[in-house]
């Protein structure tokens, strides 16, 4: 019941561009670790791995995925650091009856109007990240917010999601600036944010933009009076900002390597191969691959619908994801971490960057199922 007598996993992400540090080769390593953990076989058939660079271009992603599905015997594709590539491949996977498990593709659009039954947005999404951080900070009394938002869909969606939570919890948004992507210099926006007197300056952007904004916020002495809260930050970003400048920041993550014994043990294996600690996106690829293979094993087939049904039945609990349940709309609802960046003196070993403030229950941070999602009805 295994198609083509092989179970094949595809990692499709950015190996060369601006997202290559948070996903890239590390995700491939993570997937490999998952396959090794299954002994390289399910249902007595070999498990194989392919990977490719989609250059963040949906047409390249679509073409690669199509080729994988039609000719390469690939059963499941994971990662996708940009929503456009994830959405493009989901569309094809639906036609070809294959599974897509975005790990770094965080757009809530994947769960909304564009949702389909063969997609599992594994690691987290913009809403969960924004909601986690926003909720925690508003609770601490940081009521007024200013957004510096990338003028791109993911930026807008981070801002929108966070705003929803802020308003719901009694905070308020006093202003926002939308910057072109990529940004480069954030001084203007930071000064406006500073002038607004908001308690929190939320950064609804990603990658180098976030890093630059944080560096420059330090330069202008903003971090001393206001809280800077990046809504989408990977450990690789903090690594490149350095603790000196990042210290004290709050952020949400689906995974932190130093969370507990299990996460540490797995991360150590990853570190040996990659010489870096895994980002949540990379860890998510591991979890997605592992869970997929387990589901194939349990379902006794690699037929997509059967595997998805199996995944929905399981409770996901591994070195990365805790208390995870896959919902109808494709969201994997699981525990999230609210983290605070350590000061340089608190950091004892390399990559010792975060204090875990709270574990946020999935139900508290994941959005309700979108009415736009037809599958879930």
């Amino acid at each position: 019941q295994v198609s083509d007598d092989v179970v094949k996993i595809g990692v499709l992400n950015d190996l060369s561009g601006i997202y290559s540090d948070l996903s890239g080769q590390g995700s491939v390593t993570a997937a490999r670790l998952a396959i090794e953990e299954m002994g390289g076989k399910v249902l007595g058939k070999p498990v194989e791995l392919v990977f490719a660079d989609h250059q963040n271009k949906p047409d390249v992603a679509a073409n690669l995925a199509r080729g994988w599905f039609d000719q390469g015997k690939v059963d499941m594709v994971t990662d996708f650091p940009t929503a456009s590539t994830a959405l493009a491949v989901m569309e094809i996977a639906k036609q070809k009856n294959r599974i897509v498990m975005p790990s770094s593709g965080l757009a809530t659009a994947i769960l909304g109007e564009k949702c389909n039954a063969l997609t599992a947005q594994w690691t987290t999404n913009t809403y969960a990240l924004a909601a986690g951080t926003a909720r925690a900070l508003v609770k601490e009394g940081k009521k007024s917010w200013y957004f510096i938002t990338a003028d791109y869909t993911f930026g807008h969606s981070l801002e929108k999601d966070a705003t929803e939570v802020i308003n719901a919890d009694g905070g308020k948004v006093v202003g926002s600036s939308r910057h072109p992507f990529p940004g480069g210099d954030f001084s203007s926006f930071l000064l406006k944010a500073q002038a607004s007197g908001a308690d929190v300056i939320a950064l609804a952007n990603a990658g180098n933009d976030t890093v630059n904004a944080i560096k420059q916020a330090n330069e202008y002495g903003i971090t001393r009076k206001q809280v800077v809260a990046p809504l989408l930050t990977y450990i690789s970003d903090v690594h490149s900002i350095g603790l000196e400048k990042a210290q004290g920041m709050y952020l949400s993550e689906a995974f932190y390597w130093d969370f507990d014994e299990r996460s540490r043990a797995w991360s150590k294996k990853f570190f040996e191969k990659q010489k870096r600690m895994p980002t949540a996106a990379q860890a998510g690829v591991y979890s997605a691959t592992l869970s997929y293979l387990k589901a194939v094993q349990a379902a006794g087939t690699d037929e997509a619908k059967a595997v998805m049904a199996q995944l929905r039945k399981m409770t996901i609990d591994d070195a990365v994801i805790r208390h995870g349940k896959l919902r109808e709309d494709g969201a994997l609802v699981h525990d999230m971490l609210l983290l605070q960046v350590k000061s340089p003196s608190e950091s004892k070993v390399p990559w010792d960057y975060y204090k875990v403030k709270t574990v946020l229950k999935g139900a508290d941070v994941y959005p309700a199922i979108s009415p736009a999602c037809q599958v879930a009805k």
């Binding site: 392919v50 949906p58 679509a62 080729g67 039609d70 940009t82 989901m90 569309e91 993911f154």
Partner: protein, 332 residues
């Protein structure tokens, strides 16, 4: 029969057989190649025959894709014919071509390139800002519709033959334009503009027409790409799409009939088959530019033709391959 047409006929046989042996070459891949080849041919129509280097062609490519995409997404269920959607894409591209062309055509050389660059950045900005383009998420799941209301194009093989037919038609049309009285006018203009003017040629108008024709075929390529891949996205409108096409054209041979096609096939394959290499691809692309510009300015087809002619020792013919390199413009 002219050589390029003979080559086309010869290649048509394996091309027709592709869907029969999908294990050998993947039809969707070939379709993508065909779309980009058409794009490069259209681009070549401008650069190869007028010497104008446009950095704005992505605007035509992207916006025609958006146009076809949105029409099909919104109206395909209501029986909107796919042919009209393609035509609309071409029209939009031609209209943008007219707009950019009118502004840019009065300048030459580097200024022409820079104006097209500026205007295409504006086209990109609009694509980000307009809600219906889907921003950086793009449009997915564009329905392919039914050809003439009969043939279901969502079947890859049907789409394949349709794309092939469009490509052949596009190739022939461009071949015809190049070898038409207007094509002669363009050649004369490129060869010696002041002289052409003194013979009564209206340079600006000729160039504008060439620009719009090039935009129209770029639009056709963009619309077809949107249908083939069933998506349209921001990167189609980006500057890098224009430079990539420039690379294809240069690699294959500026001003040659088959150069752009070969270049497109090579670059698209590189994207597909070197996808595992990741970052190295950038370095390879860069090296290709450097090597090509330094040593093979005529591109693959151009060098090949030059070699053939050198072998035949036809000095008279050899001059023709100058086509493949841009000269400094002649001034009065």
């Amino acid at each position: 029969m002219p050589t390029p047409i003979r080559v086309l006929l010869a290649l048509l046989i394996p091309a027709v057989l592709v869907p029969v042996f999908p294990e050998l070459v993947y039809p969707v891949f070939i379709m993508k190649v065909l779309c980009y080849a058409l794009f490069a041919l259209a681009f070549n129509l401008l650069i190869g025959f007028t010497g104008l280097v446009s950095f704005g062609h992505a605007a035509f490519f992207g916006w025609s894709g958006y146009t076809t995409g949105i029409l099909m997404i919104k109206l395909a269920d209501h029986g909107f014919p796919v042919e009209l959607a393609i035509l609309a894409g071409m029209l939009v591209a031609t209209a943008i071509g007219w707009l950019i062309g009118t502004l840019a055509i009065r300048r030459t050389g580097i200024y022409f390139s820079m104006i097209t660059l500026a205007l295409s950045q504006i086209a990109y900005f609009l694509a980000v800002q307009m809600p219906w383009t889907g921003g950086e998420d793009g449009m997915q799941g564009i329905p392919r519709g039914k050809l003439l209301g009969l043939v279901d194009l969502s079947v890859d093989n049907h789409m394949y033959y349709f794309t092939l037919a469009v490509f052949v038609a596009g190739f022939l049309a461009i071949h015809r334009i190049v070898h038409s009285p207007f094509g002669q006018s363009l050649k004369a203009l490129r060869d010696n503009a002041p002289r052409a003017v003194s013979l009564g040629y209206d340079t600006d108008r000729c160039k504008l027409y060439a620009f719009m024709l090039s935009a129209a075929f770029t639009g056709l390529a963009g619309s077809m790409k949107a249908l083939v891949l069933q998506l349209s996205a921001l990167n189609d409108v980006m500057l890098s799409t224009s430079t990539e096409t420039l690379l294809m054209t240069l690699l294959g041979g500026l001003g040659t009939s088959w150069g752009p096609v070969l270049g497109a096939a090579l670059v698209v394959s590189l994207q597909n088959y070197l996808a595992e290499l990741g970052g190295v691809v950038t370095i390879i692309t860069g090296l290709t530019f450097v090597v090509c510009v330094s040593f093979f300015r005529r591109g693959m087809v151009g060098e090949w033709e030059a070699w053939l002619q050198r072998r035949r020792g036809q000095r008279a013919q050899a001059a023709k391959t100058h086509n493949a390199t841009l000269k400094k413009p002649v001034t009065p």
